[in-house]
Symmetry: D2
Protein backbone atom coordinates (compact mmCIF):
# COMPACT_ATOMS: atom_id res chain seq x y z
CA UNK A 1 0.00 0.00 0.00
CA UNK A 2 1.87 3.12 -1.21
CA UNK A 3 -0.18 5.42 1.06
CA UNK A 4 1.08 3.57 4.12
CA UNK A 5 4.66 3.55 2.87
CA UNK A 6 4.55 7.29 2.21
CA UNK A 7 3.22 7.85 5.70
CA UNK A 8 6.06 5.79 7.16
CA UNK A 9 8.67 7.73 5.18
CA UNK A 10 7.19 11.01 6.42
CA UNK A 11 7.11 9.74 10.01
CA UNK A 12 10.75 8.76 9.81
CA UNK A 13 11.70 12.11 8.26
CA UNK A 14 9.91 13.89 11.09
CA UNK A 15 11.85 11.77 13.59
CA UNK A 16 15.20 12.41 11.84
CA UNK A 17 14.49 16.16 11.82
CA UNK A 18 13.59 16.15 15.52
CA UNK A 19 16.67 14.11 16.43
CA UNK A 20 18.85 16.64 14.57
CA UNK A 21 17.02 19.51 16.28
CA UNK A 22 17.28 17.86 19.70
CA UNK A 23 21.02 17.23 19.18
CA UNK A 24 21.50 20.93 18.43
CA UNK A 25 19.39 22.20 21.33
CA UNK A 26 21.12 19.83 23.79
CA UNK A 27 24.58 20.94 22.63
CA UNK A 28 23.55 24.61 22.94
CA UNK A 29 21.95 24.04 26.35
CA UNK A 30 25.04 22.18 27.60
CA UNK A 31 27.31 25.07 26.59
CA UNK A 32 24.91 27.54 28.23
CA UNK A 33 24.74 25.46 31.44
CA UNK A 34 28.54 25.49 31.68
CA UNK A 35 28.42 29.31 31.68
CA UNK A 36 25.80 29.60 34.46
CA UNK A 37 26.98 30.65 37.95
CA UNK A 38 25.51 27.42 39.36
CA UNK A 39 27.29 25.18 36.80
CA UNK A 40 28.35 22.80 39.52
CA UNK A 41 24.73 22.19 40.60
CA UNK A 42 23.95 21.25 37.00
CA UNK A 43 26.34 18.30 36.87
CA UNK A 44 23.66 15.66 36.30
CA UNK A 45 21.86 17.89 33.79
CA UNK A 46 25.08 18.46 31.82
CA UNK A 47 25.89 14.74 31.78
CA UNK A 48 22.41 13.88 30.53
CA UNK A 49 22.61 16.59 27.84
CA UNK A 50 25.88 15.06 26.62
CA UNK A 51 24.34 11.59 26.33
CA UNK A 52 21.20 13.00 24.71
CA UNK A 53 23.08 14.95 22.01
CA UNK A 54 25.16 11.89 21.13
CA UNK A 55 22.30 9.38 20.97
CA UNK A 56 20.12 11.78 18.93
CA UNK A 57 22.97 12.22 16.45
CA UNK A 58 23.49 8.46 16.03
CA UNK A 59 19.74 7.74 15.90
CA UNK A 60 19.41 10.20 12.99
CA UNK A 61 22.28 8.42 11.20
CA UNK A 62 20.74 4.95 11.77
CA UNK A 63 17.36 6.10 10.43
CA UNK A 64 18.93 7.83 7.42
CA UNK A 65 20.77 4.63 6.42
CA UNK A 66 17.66 2.49 6.86
CA UNK A 67 19.30 0.46 9.60
CA UNK A 68 17.66 -2.77 10.77
CA UNK A 69 18.24 -1.38 14.29
CA UNK A 70 16.59 2.02 13.76
CA UNK A 71 13.69 1.16 16.05
CA UNK A 72 15.94 -0.13 18.81
CA UNK A 73 18.13 2.98 18.83
CA UNK A 74 15.01 5.18 18.74
CA UNK A 75 13.72 3.30 21.79
CA UNK A 76 16.91 4.10 23.71
CA UNK A 77 16.88 7.67 22.35
CA UNK A 78 13.33 8.19 23.64
CA UNK A 79 14.40 7.03 27.10
CA UNK A 80 17.41 9.38 27.23
CA UNK A 81 15.37 12.31 25.84
CA UNK A 82 12.80 11.84 28.62
CA UNK A 83 15.54 11.76 31.27
CA UNK A 84 17.08 14.90 29.75
CA UNK A 85 13.73 16.72 29.78
CA UNK A 86 13.31 15.83 33.48
CA UNK A 87 16.79 17.20 34.30
CA UNK A 88 16.30 20.40 32.28
CA UNK A 89 12.91 21.02 33.89
CA UNK A 90 14.70 21.54 37.23
CA UNK A 91 16.20 24.84 35.99
CA UNK A 92 14.39 28.08 35.24
CA UNK A 93 16.46 29.57 32.43
CA UNK A 94 15.15 29.75 28.90
CA UNK A 95 17.69 27.39 27.38
CA UNK A 96 16.71 24.59 29.79
CA UNK A 97 12.98 25.23 29.32
CA UNK A 98 13.32 25.14 25.52
CA UNK A 99 15.55 22.07 25.67
CA UNK A 100 13.09 20.17 27.88
CA UNK A 101 10.34 20.98 25.38
CA UNK A 102 12.30 19.75 22.34
CA UNK A 103 13.49 16.64 24.22
CA UNK A 104 9.86 15.71 24.95
CA UNK A 105 8.87 16.21 21.30
CA UNK A 106 11.82 14.10 20.19
CA UNK A 107 10.99 11.36 22.70
CA UNK A 108 7.43 11.25 21.34
CA UNK A 109 8.58 10.97 17.70
CA UNK A 110 11.09 8.27 18.66
CA UNK A 111 8.30 6.30 20.34
CA UNK A 112 6.24 6.71 17.15
CA UNK A 113 9.17 5.20 15.22
CA UNK A 114 9.36 2.26 17.64
CA UNK A 115 5.65 1.56 17.13
CA UNK A 116 5.72 1.98 13.36
CA UNK B 1 27.30 45.21 15.91
CA UNK B 2 24.15 43.11 16.47
CA UNK B 3 23.42 43.01 12.72
CA UNK B 4 26.72 41.29 12.05
CA UNK B 5 26.23 38.86 14.92
CA UNK B 6 22.77 37.93 13.70
CA UNK B 7 24.17 37.32 10.23
CA UNK B 8 26.84 35.04 11.68
CA UNK B 9 24.25 33.07 13.68
CA UNK B 10 22.14 32.65 10.52
CA UNK B 11 25.19 31.55 8.50
CA UNK B 12 26.06 28.96 11.10
CA UNK B 13 22.47 27.71 11.26
CA UNK B 14 22.47 27.34 7.48
CA UNK B 15 25.71 25.36 7.72
CA UNK B 16 24.38 23.13 10.53
CA UNK B 17 21.22 22.45 8.50
CA UNK B 18 23.23 21.57 5.40
CA UNK B 19 25.58 19.31 7.35
CA UNK B 20 22.56 17.45 8.75
CA UNK B 21 21.02 17.24 5.28
CA UNK B 22 24.30 16.08 3.73
CA UNK B 23 24.72 13.41 6.43
CA UNK B 24 21.25 12.08 5.60
CA UNK B 25 21.70 12.14 1.83
CA UNK B 26 25.12 10.42 2.08
CA UNK B 27 23.72 7.68 4.33
CA UNK B 28 20.80 7.14 1.95
CA UNK B 29 23.08 7.16 -1.11
CA UNK B 30 25.47 4.68 0.53
CA UNK B 31 22.62 2.26 1.24
CA UNK B 32 21.35 2.68 -2.35
CA UNK B 33 24.86 2.13 -3.80
CA UNK B 34 25.16 -1.16 -1.87
CA UNK B 35 21.97 -2.35 -3.61
CA UNK B 36 23.14 -1.48 -7.16
CA UNK B 37 24.25 -4.37 -9.42
CA UNK B 38 27.65 -2.66 -9.82
CA UNK B 39 28.17 -2.26 -6.06
CA UNK B 40 31.72 -3.52 -6.33
CA UNK B 41 32.63 -0.75 -8.84
CA UNK B 42 31.38 1.78 -6.29
CA UNK B 43 33.88 0.86 -3.59
CA UNK B 44 35.63 4.24 -3.52
CA UNK B 45 32.31 6.08 -3.72
CA UNK B 46 30.90 4.07 -0.80
CA UNK B 47 34.01 4.68 1.29
CA UNK B 48 33.85 8.41 0.63
CA UNK B 49 30.13 8.51 1.47
CA UNK B 50 30.90 6.84 4.79
CA UNK B 51 33.54 9.45 5.68
CA UNK B 52 31.31 12.29 4.47
CA UNK B 53 28.28 11.24 6.56
CA UNK B 54 30.45 10.94 9.68
CA UNK B 55 32.30 14.25 9.33
CA UNK B 56 29.07 16.14 8.51
CA UNK B 57 27.49 14.69 11.65
CA UNK B 58 30.40 15.73 13.88
CA UNK B 59 30.74 19.17 12.21
CA UNK B 60 27.07 19.86 13.00
CA UNK B 61 27.69 18.88 16.64
CA UNK B 62 30.82 21.09 16.92
CA UNK B 63 28.94 24.09 15.49
CA UNK B 64 25.92 23.51 17.73
CA UNK B 65 28.11 23.51 20.84
CA UNK B 66 29.98 26.65 19.77
CA UNK B 67 33.28 24.75 19.64
CA UNK B 68 36.52 26.73 19.30
CA UNK B 69 37.34 24.24 16.53
CA UNK B 70 34.15 24.66 14.51
CA UNK B 71 35.99 26.38 11.65
CA UNK B 72 38.70 23.74 11.50
CA UNK B 73 36.25 20.85 11.34
CA UNK B 74 34.19 22.73 8.72
CA UNK B 75 37.38 23.10 6.65
CA UNK B 76 37.93 19.34 6.70
CA UNK B 77 34.22 18.74 6.10
CA UNK B 78 34.33 20.94 2.97
CA UNK B 79 37.27 18.93 1.64
CA UNK B 80 35.53 15.57 2.19
CA UNK B 81 32.23 16.88 0.76
CA UNK B 82 34.02 17.96 -2.44
CA UNK B 83 35.68 14.55 -2.77
CA UNK B 84 32.32 12.86 -2.20
CA UNK B 85 30.66 15.01 -4.89
CA UNK B 86 33.42 14.04 -7.33
CA UNK B 87 32.90 10.32 -6.60
CA UNK B 88 29.10 10.50 -6.83
CA UNK B 89 29.32 12.41 -10.14
CA UNK B 90 30.80 9.27 -11.72
CA UNK B 91 27.47 7.45 -11.47
CA UNK B 92 24.27 8.17 -13.35
CA UNK B 93 21.56 7.17 -10.88
CA UNK B 94 19.39 9.76 -9.19
CA UNK B 95 20.65 9.11 -5.66
CA UNK B 96 24.25 9.83 -6.69
CA UNK B 97 23.29 12.93 -8.68
CA UNK B 98 21.28 14.33 -5.79
CA UNK B 99 24.03 13.45 -3.31
CA UNK B 100 26.71 15.20 -5.41
CA UNK B 101 24.52 18.30 -5.51
CA UNK B 102 23.95 18.42 -1.73
CA UNK B 103 27.63 17.67 -1.04
CA UNK B 104 28.63 20.70 -3.15
CA UNK B 105 26.15 22.94 -1.33
CA UNK B 106 27.42 21.68 2.02
CA UNK B 107 31.06 22.22 0.97
CA UNK B 108 30.21 25.81 0.02
CA UNK B 109 28.49 26.55 3.34
CA UNK B 110 31.39 24.96 5.24
CA UNK B 111 33.82 27.23 3.38
CA UNK B 112 31.60 30.20 4.31
CA UNK B 113 31.94 29.13 7.96
CA UNK B 114 35.73 28.91 7.64
CA UNK B 115 35.85 32.46 6.25
CA UNK B 116 33.38 33.91 8.78
CA UNK C 1 33.43 -3.51 49.50
CA UNK C 2 36.48 -2.27 47.57
CA UNK C 3 37.07 -5.73 46.06
CA UNK C 4 33.70 -5.65 44.36
CA UNK C 5 34.21 -2.08 43.13
CA UNK C 6 37.61 -2.99 41.70
CA UNK C 7 36.05 -5.94 39.92
CA UNK C 8 33.40 -3.70 38.41
CA UNK C 9 35.99 -1.19 37.19
CA UNK C 10 37.98 -4.02 35.61
CA UNK C 11 34.84 -5.45 33.98
CA UNK C 12 33.98 -2.09 32.49
CA UNK C 13 37.54 -1.58 31.26
CA UNK C 14 37.41 -4.99 29.59
CA UNK C 15 34.13 -4.01 27.95
CA UNK C 16 35.51 -0.62 26.78
CA UNK C 17 38.58 -2.36 25.34
CA UNK C 18 36.45 -4.92 23.50
CA UNK C 19 34.11 -2.24 22.14
CA UNK C 20 37.15 -0.35 20.79
CA UNK C 21 38.57 -3.56 19.34
CA UNK C 22 35.22 -4.55 17.82
CA UNK C 23 34.82 -1.07 16.27
CA UNK C 24 38.22 -1.46 14.63
CA UNK C 25 37.67 -5.01 13.37
CA UNK C 26 34.22 -4.09 11.97
CA UNK C 27 35.62 -1.05 10.13
CA UNK C 28 38.46 -3.19 8.70
CA UNK C 29 36.08 -6.00 7.74
CA UNK C 30 33.68 -3.55 6.06
CA UNK C 31 36.50 -2.10 3.94
CA UNK C 32 37.66 -5.64 3.05
CA UNK C 33 34.11 -6.73 2.15
CA UNK C 34 33.80 -3.78 -0.26
CA UNK C 35 36.89 -5.07 -2.09
CA UNK C 36 35.62 -8.66 -2.46
CA UNK C 37 34.37 -9.77 -5.91
CA UNK C 38 31.00 -10.66 -4.34
CA UNK C 39 30.61 -7.26 -2.65
CA UNK C 40 27.01 -7.02 -3.78
CA UNK C 41 26.11 -10.30 -2.05
CA UNK C 42 27.50 -8.82 1.18
CA UNK C 43 25.06 -5.91 1.33
CA UNK C 44 23.40 -6.97 4.57
CA UNK C 45 26.76 -7.88 6.11
CA UNK C 46 28.20 -4.46 5.20
CA UNK C 47 25.18 -2.64 6.60
CA UNK C 48 25.40 -4.56 9.88
CA UNK C 49 29.15 -3.91 10.12
CA UNK C 50 28.45 -0.18 9.74
CA UNK C 51 25.91 -0.20 12.58
CA UNK C 52 28.15 -2.37 14.75
CA UNK C 53 31.21 -0.11 14.39
CA UNK C 54 29.15 2.97 15.27
CA UNK C 55 27.35 1.53 18.30
CA UNK C 56 30.60 0.02 19.68
CA UNK C 57 32.24 3.42 19.38
CA UNK C 58 29.44 5.23 21.23
CA UNK C 59 29.12 2.48 23.86
CA UNK C 60 32.83 2.89 24.67
CA UNK C 61 32.29 6.66 25.04
CA UNK C 62 29.24 6.22 27.30
CA UNK C 63 31.12 3.78 29.56
CA UNK C 64 34.20 6.02 29.69
CA UNK C 65 32.12 9.00 30.85
CA UNK C 66 30.28 6.93 33.47
CA UNK C 67 26.95 7.54 31.77
CA UNK C 68 23.73 6.62 33.59
CA UNK C 69 22.77 4.90 30.32
CA UNK C 70 25.91 2.78 29.92
CA UNK C 71 24.02 -0.46 30.60
CA UNK C 72 21.24 0.38 28.15
CA UNK C 73 23.64 1.20 25.30
CA UNK C 74 25.63 -1.97 26.09
CA UNK C 75 22.39 -3.96 25.82
CA UNK C 76 21.77 -2.58 22.33
CA UNK C 77 25.44 -3.02 21.46
CA UNK C 78 25.27 -6.72 22.43
CA UNK C 79 22.26 -7.21 20.17
CA UNK C 80 23.94 -5.56 17.17
CA UNK C 81 27.22 -7.43 17.78
CA UNK C 82 25.36 -10.76 17.75
CA UNK C 83 23.60 -9.84 14.49
CA UNK C 84 26.94 -8.80 13.00
CA UNK C 85 28.56 -12.09 14.03
CA UNK C 86 25.71 -14.00 12.36
CA UNK C 87 26.16 -12.03 9.11
CA UNK C 88 29.95 -12.40 9.08
CA UNK C 89 29.67 -16.15 9.72
CA UNK C 90 28.07 -16.53 6.29
CA UNK C 91 31.37 -15.71 4.55
CA UNK C 92 34.51 -17.81 4.47
CA UNK C 93 37.28 -15.21 4.31
CA UNK C 94 39.56 -14.57 7.24
CA UNK C 95 38.41 -11.00 7.91
CA UNK C 96 34.78 -12.15 8.35
CA UNK C 97 35.75 -15.12 10.52
CA UNK C 98 37.89 -12.92 12.77
CA UNK C 99 35.21 -10.23 12.91
CA UNK C 100 32.51 -12.75 13.89
CA UNK C 101 34.76 -13.98 16.69
CA UNK C 102 35.45 -10.49 18.10
CA UNK C 103 31.77 -9.50 17.76
CA UNK C 104 30.77 -12.50 19.89
CA UNK C 105 33.37 -11.63 22.54
CA UNK C 106 32.17 -8.04 22.57
CA UNK C 107 28.52 -9.12 22.82
CA UNK C 108 29.41 -11.29 25.83
CA UNK C 109 31.26 -8.46 27.63
CA UNK C 110 28.37 -6.08 26.89
CA UNK C 111 25.94 -8.55 28.45
CA UNK C 112 28.26 -8.76 31.48
CA UNK C 113 28.01 -4.96 31.75
CA UNK C 114 24.20 -5.11 31.56
CA UNK C 115 24.12 -7.65 34.40
CA UNK C 116 26.68 -5.84 36.57
CA UNK D 1 59.20 -3.24 0.96
CA UNK D 2 57.25 -5.32 3.51
CA UNK D 3 59.37 -3.97 6.39
CA UNK D 4 58.23 -0.43 5.65
CA UNK D 5 54.62 -1.50 5.27
CA UNK D 6 54.72 -3.38 8.54
CA UNK D 7 56.17 -0.32 10.23
CA UNK D 8 53.35 1.82 8.85
CA UNK D 9 50.72 -0.65 10.05
CA UNK D 10 52.29 -0.65 13.51
CA UNK D 11 52.45 3.16 13.54
CA UNK D 12 48.79 3.39 12.65
CA UNK D 13 47.85 0.79 15.29
CA UNK D 14 49.77 2.81 17.88
CA UNK D 15 47.86 5.92 16.81
CA UNK D 16 44.48 4.14 16.91
CA UNK D 17 45.27 2.80 20.39
CA UNK D 18 46.28 6.24 21.64
CA UNK D 19 43.19 7.88 20.15
CA UNK D 20 41.01 5.30 21.94
CA UNK D 21 42.97 5.87 25.16
CA UNK D 22 42.76 9.65 24.82
CA UNK D 23 39.01 9.47 24.16
CA UNK D 24 38.59 7.49 27.38
CA UNK D 25 40.81 9.72 29.51
CA UNK D 26 39.10 12.88 28.20
CA UNK D 27 35.63 11.49 28.94
CA UNK D 28 36.76 10.48 32.45
CA UNK D 29 38.44 13.84 33.05
CA UNK D 30 35.35 15.73 31.85
CA UNK D 31 33.13 13.82 34.27
CA UNK D 32 35.63 14.45 37.09
CA UNK D 33 35.85 18.18 36.25
CA UNK D 34 32.06 18.49 36.48
CA UNK D 35 32.26 17.14 40.04
CA UNK D 36 34.98 19.59 41.20
CA UNK D 37 33.92 22.52 43.44
CA UNK D 38 35.36 24.94 40.84
CA UNK D 39 33.47 23.36 37.94
CA UNK D 40 32.45 26.77 36.67
CA UNK D 41 36.09 27.89 36.36
CA UNK D 42 36.72 24.83 34.21
CA UNK D 43 34.27 25.79 31.47
CA UNK D 44 36.86 26.12 28.72
CA UNK D 45 38.63 22.96 29.87
CA UNK D 46 35.37 20.99 29.82
CA UNK D 47 34.48 22.27 26.36
CA UNK D 48 37.90 21.29 25.00
CA UNK D 49 37.68 17.85 26.62
CA UNK D 50 34.34 17.32 24.86
CA UNK D 51 35.80 18.21 21.46
CA UNK D 52 38.91 16.12 22.12
CA UNK D 53 37.00 12.97 23.08
CA UNK D 54 34.82 13.25 19.95
CA UNK D 55 37.60 13.91 17.45
CA UNK D 56 39.78 11.12 18.93
CA UNK D 57 36.86 8.71 18.56
CA UNK D 58 36.25 9.63 14.92
CA UNK D 59 39.97 9.68 14.07
CA UNK D 60 40.26 6.09 15.37
CA UNK D 61 37.31 5.08 13.16
CA UNK D 62 38.78 6.79 10.07
CA UNK D 63 42.12 5.06 10.58
CA UNK D 64 40.51 1.67 11.19
CA UNK D 65 38.58 1.89 7.91
CA UNK D 66 41.66 2.96 5.96
CA UNK D 67 40.04 6.29 5.06
CA UNK D 68 41.66 8.46 2.39
CA UNK D 69 41.22 11.29 4.93
CA UNK D 70 42.91 9.57 7.88
CA UNK D 71 45.88 11.95 7.78
CA UNK D 72 43.69 15.05 7.60
CA UNK D 73 41.57 14.04 10.58
CA UNK D 74 44.73 13.10 12.52
CA UNK D 75 46.07 16.59 11.78
CA UNK D 76 42.98 18.17 13.30
CA UNK D 77 43.03 15.66 16.16
CA UNK D 78 46.64 16.63 17.00
CA UNK D 79 45.65 20.30 17.14
CA UNK D 80 42.69 19.67 19.47
CA UNK D 81 44.74 17.29 21.67
CA UNK D 82 47.41 20.00 22.13
CA UNK D 83 44.74 22.58 23.06
CA UNK D 84 43.22 20.09 25.51
CA UNK D 85 46.62 19.41 27.11
CA UNK D 86 47.13 23.18 27.57
CA UNK D 87 43.72 23.56 29.24
CA UNK D 88 44.20 20.54 31.51
CA UNK D 89 47.65 21.76 32.56
CA UNK D 90 45.97 24.73 34.27
CA UNK D 91 44.50 22.47 36.95
CA UNK D 92 46.36 20.61 39.68
CA UNK D 93 44.24 17.50 40.17
CA UNK D 94 45.45 14.08 39.09
CA UNK D 95 42.81 13.55 36.41
CA UNK D 96 43.81 16.76 34.61
CA UNK D 97 47.52 16.00 34.90
CA UNK D 98 47.07 12.50 33.52
CA UNK D 99 44.78 13.74 30.78
CA UNK D 100 47.27 16.42 29.67
CA UNK D 101 49.96 13.73 29.49
CA UNK D 102 47.88 11.36 27.33
CA UNK D 103 46.68 14.24 25.12
CA UNK D 104 50.31 15.16 24.38
CA UNK D 105 51.19 11.55 23.55
CA UNK D 106 48.16 11.29 21.28
CA UNK D 107 49.01 14.58 19.55
CA UNK D 108 52.52 13.25 18.88
CA UNK D 109 51.25 9.98 17.38
CA UNK D 110 48.72 11.88 15.26
CA UNK D 111 51.51 14.06 13.92
CA UNK D 112 53.47 10.88 13.13
CA UNK D 113 50.46 9.66 11.13
CA UNK D 114 50.30 12.97 9.22
CA UNK D 115 53.98 12.65 8.29
CA UNK D 116 53.81 8.96 7.37
Amino acid sequence: MPAVIETDVKKMQKCIDLCNRCMQVCEECLTSCLKEPDAQARMKCIQTLRDCADICSLAAQFMARGSAFAKQICGLCAEICEACATECDMFQDNHCKQCADICRQCAQECRNMVNM
